[in-house]
């Protein structure tokens, strides 16, 4: 269903909804996975992002997202300078990612303290994004919902534990997806929720023995 506000909007920093607003959202999502300002970022641009990204401000938009700026924040324009001031060291490379990817795709690797995470995301047009990989796990996340992401041992009962923890706090699940690289290894769990996850539910899931890394990412679209 098309809404009036899909047509008259979004309010955004120019010049391109796919190369600027969408790129910023990929950065914002990646930032959510390290839960704050990263210290180092490697940004790899693929396809049209690599060819015209600099002129469209894709580099600045991604870095702005990494700093927590939304697509309508004028600080996007100065984000490369602001990154240096915030202690974020960024490197860029134009690459050809292996496999099938949307023409507007970036792979971002972030380091913060002991954390390291790699995210691949595509900008689909009109500012919409799709995150397609996190740390090598294939995923499909839009950022249009508050999103719970965690990595856990691939053992039975995790989903039951999570849904119990969420239901106890009245947190409703919009979509969920579990994917793994191999049987019995680790699996990534993605839950898109109707509202931001409540703190007690987050703590209860964090306390599940099989859960390794867990992040609650705010709605970014």
């Amino acid at each position: 269903m098309v809404s009036l506000l899909d047509i008259i909007g979004p309010v955004m920093v120019g010049p391109s909804s796919s190369h600027t607003a969408g790129a910023c959202r990929i950065g914002l999502f990646a930032r959510g996975l390290v839960d704050g300002n990263p210290e180092r970022a490697k940004v790899e641009l693929h396809g049209s992002f690599a060819r015209t990204g600099t002129g469209h401000g894709t580099d600045r938009a991604i870095v702005g997202g990494l700093l927590g700026f939304y697509p309508d924040d004028e600080r996007l324009r100065a984000s490369l300078d602001l990154a240096a001031a915030a202690g974020l060291e960024v490197s860029f490379a134009n690459v050809r990612l292996r496999g099938e990817h949307h023409p507007n795709t970036a792979r971002i690797t972030l380091w913060r303290g002991s954390q390291e995470v790699a995210v691949t995301g595509s900008s689909l047009g009109a500012g919409r994004i799709l995150v397609t990989a996190i740390d090598g796990f294939p995923v499909e996340v839009t950022g249009a919902f508050p999103t719970l992401v965690f990595v856990a041992q691939d053992v039975p009962g995790i989903v039951a534990g999570v849904s119990t923890a969420l239901a106890r706090q009245g947190d409703n699940i919009a979509t969920m997806r579990v994917s793994r690289r191999q049987k019995g290894g680790e699996a990534i769990h993605i839950y898109e929720l109707d509202q931001a996850i409540s703190a007690p539910a987050l703590e209860a899931i964090r306390a599940l023995p099989a859960v390794r890394m867990i992040r609650a990412i705010p709605r970014i679209a």
Partner: protein
């Protein structure tokens, strides 16, 4: 929202309300937001549009590549035969917004960032010469949204899919209907204004130099505004386009689907592929790479 502008016009006339009022009621009935929320979002869009025109008119902005900027300011002192009329105010405002967009300023994508100058250009240009309230302008934005929603479903709003006819062309159609709403015209007049405007943008290709939203996009927003004014003027004078507006919109979609990929935002054809277009793009992109290299801390 509606999938046929013809149906929307019929419904609005049956209820004896404007297309903008119908759009606002329909948005609320579809249950995503309250009337207050929709109006507040459109009021914010209006404020951003006003700020973008104001930010762009002084002419001190340059685009990221340096290819565009400062032309809106020239139109603040027009010397041609239309100086001082709605016409020059519309094209000055459209240029201003699109120059702000190219310089990474804040705009409202309406329907897209590349076509963001047309609607504020037409509405705020008209408003300068009429006494209008914010409520009138908000209803006009809703009218534009309704038209854009129909185009999104029946054709396309993406230059990569349908060429520039789907971006500045669609924006011009939206602006024509919005202009009729602002001037107190009927839903039928709005529909004919859309048809009369979009018949003139059919086939328009998307051929930006270097793939950047700069040349010709900035200027095409101004000519898009001019097309909308022509549609508005003809419709208010009683001109009725013989092909129904939904069929004009379908035609835009059909032309877009059969348009060669060179003319769909790839910089492979049109003005982008001219000798000068290629040279400018190359010079500017080389310059950008040099500039970027200095700014980026290396590992």
């Amino acid at each position: 929202m509606f999938e046929s502008l013809g149906d929307a016009v019929e419904r609005a006339e049956a209820l004896a309300i404007s297309l903008g009022e119908l759009a606002l009621r329909t948005e609320v009935e579809e249950g995503l937001r309250t009337r207050e929320e929709v109006e507040a979002a459109l009021a914010r869009a209006l404020e951003v549009m006003r700020n973008a025109v104001e930010r762009g008119l002084p002419g001190d902005l340059r685009s990221v590549s340096g290819l565009v900027g400062g032309d809106a300011a020239r139109l603040t002192h027009p010397v041609g035969p239309l100086a001082g009329t709605v016409f020059t105010d519309v094209i000055a405002s459209a240029l201003a917004v699109q120059e702000v967009n190219a310089a990474m300023g804040v705009i409202v994508a309406a329907p897209t960032a590349g076509g963001a100058g047309v609607l504020p250009g037409v509405l705020l240009g008209l408003a300068k010469h009429r006494s209008t309230t914010d409520a009138d302008l908000i209803r006009a934005l809703a009218t534009a949204g309704l038209v854009g929603a129909v185009v999104a479903v029946r054709a396309s709003l993406s230059g990569a899919e349908g060429g520039c006819q789907a971006e500045t062309g669609a924006a011009a159609g939206m602006a024509a209907a919005a202009g009729i709403e602002l001037l107190g015209g009927t839903p039928t007049e709005a529909a004919h204004a859309v048809a009369l405007t979009m018949q003139g943008t059919l086939g328009l290709v998307c051929d930006p130099l270097g793939g950047l939203v700069e040349v010709p996009c900035v200027y095409r927003n101004a000519t898009g505004g001019a097309m909308a004014l022509a549609g508005i003027e003809m419709s208010l004078a009683g001109v009725r386009f013989p092909i129904p507006v939904d069929e004009v919109i379908d035609t835009m979609g059909e032309i877009g689907r059969s348009m060669d990929v060179r003319y769909r935002e790839t910089a492979g054809g049109g003005l982008a592929a001219t000798p000068t277009g290629r040279r400018l793009a190359k010079e500017r992109l080389v310059q950008l790479k040099g500039k970027g290299g200095n700014q980026r801390p290396q590992q």
